[in-house]
Amino acid sequence: MNKIEKDIWDYIDGTCTPQDRMRAERLIDTDPAYQAAYQEFLTLDADLLKMDFDEPSMGFTRNVMEALKAEPVPGSLRSLIDQRIVYGIGAFFILTFTVLLGVFLYSMDWSETSASLFSEIKMPAVDLESVLNSKYITIFYFADIVLALYILDAFFRKRLHSK
């Protein structure tokens, strides 16, 4: 790209300084090379401005909205929770359960007959009185209320969207 092209485009786009603008105007008036380039670029510029957009298919918006139907509201708590975290928590519990089961099965004495096997298993004595005190029950109720509010919120949002 030569200097004439650069000067003319800057002049047409209006991106040059007032001094450069005056200089370009003078050159367009006096220099035939500038004059020819100016006419040529002006035509191209006008053609580019008249250029049409490409049209997507008729069902474009419908397809996009169909894909977004099940999406949570952007920025809502649900949309911010990474699915991988949920899967990670799930994997942690499954792993814990598997390990406990493994330890339990490993510690069993398999030489005994099946009838006596289970009769030998002694469940640990759990003191329910100490677990189910008022503090734990309050926490349990609180978690229930939070869960209920979350489900209620999701229900009302769905109703709002379907309207």
Partner: protein
């Protein structure tokens, strides 16, 4: 007269839970986004996929839109990354410079458009053909500047470039477009003769 909500108002409604407001945003910008996607993919099917993907991604991260730039500028940055990922996945090779050179060469190079000699086809047809032959980046920058009503500063913000760099890129893109257009018109002139 019914008030036509601005993009920012519609975005507010979407963040408040209205999906129909987002449908309006999609309708408003789909032609621009689809045209940009076409510039990168050069196939209607692929462009449709990229454009849809772009609107889905935009919806998911709408809460991150800072509203310091136009919504269309923000959308463009998503189209660009989506199209690049798509092309990488498809391993679609863009037309190389060698391919461009193999395009019909004529012995006598004329520097002016011969629009008056080509009356059978409109200039816009040739212009679209010439744009299709450009490299995707060149085609996109021209589309952004002329059809996206984006200033050099806005294009620079979307592309992560200085406005001056965008200006140089735009000049070069138009220069290459002019060359392509001249070649196409010369080819047509030769056919007519």
């Amino acid at each position: 007269m019914q008030h036509k909500p601005s993009d920012i108002e519609l975005i507010g409604e979407v963040l408040g839970g209205s999906q129909s407001a987002y449908a309006e945003l999609v309708r408003r910008h789909q032609r621009f986004i689809f045209t940009l996607a076409m510039r990168f993919t050069r196939s209607r099917e692929d462009a449709e996929e990229v454009a849809q993907d772009c609107f889905i991604k935009a919806y998911r991260s709408l809460h991150t839109f800072k509203q310091t730039s136009k919504f269309s500028t923000w959308l463009y940055s998503i189209v660009y990354t989506t199209a690049m990922t798509f092309l990488r996945k498809k391993r679609l090779e863009t037309q190389s410079i060698d391919d461009e050179e193999s395009y019909i060469q004529l012995e006598n190079h004329v520097s002016e458009f011969k629009a008056d000699q080509v009356e059978l086809k409109s200039r816009s047809v040739y212009l679209n053909k010439a744009i299709d032959q450009l490299l995707p980046d060149d085609a996109a920058i021209i589309t952004l500047f002329y059809k996206g009503e984006q200033s050099l500063e806005e294009i620079g913000a979307a592309l992560g470039m200085e406005p001056n760099t965008v200006k140089v890129k735009l000049h070069r893109a138009r220069h290459r477009l002019k060359e392509k257009l001249e070649r196409l018109l010369q080819h047509e002139v030769k056919e007519l003769i």
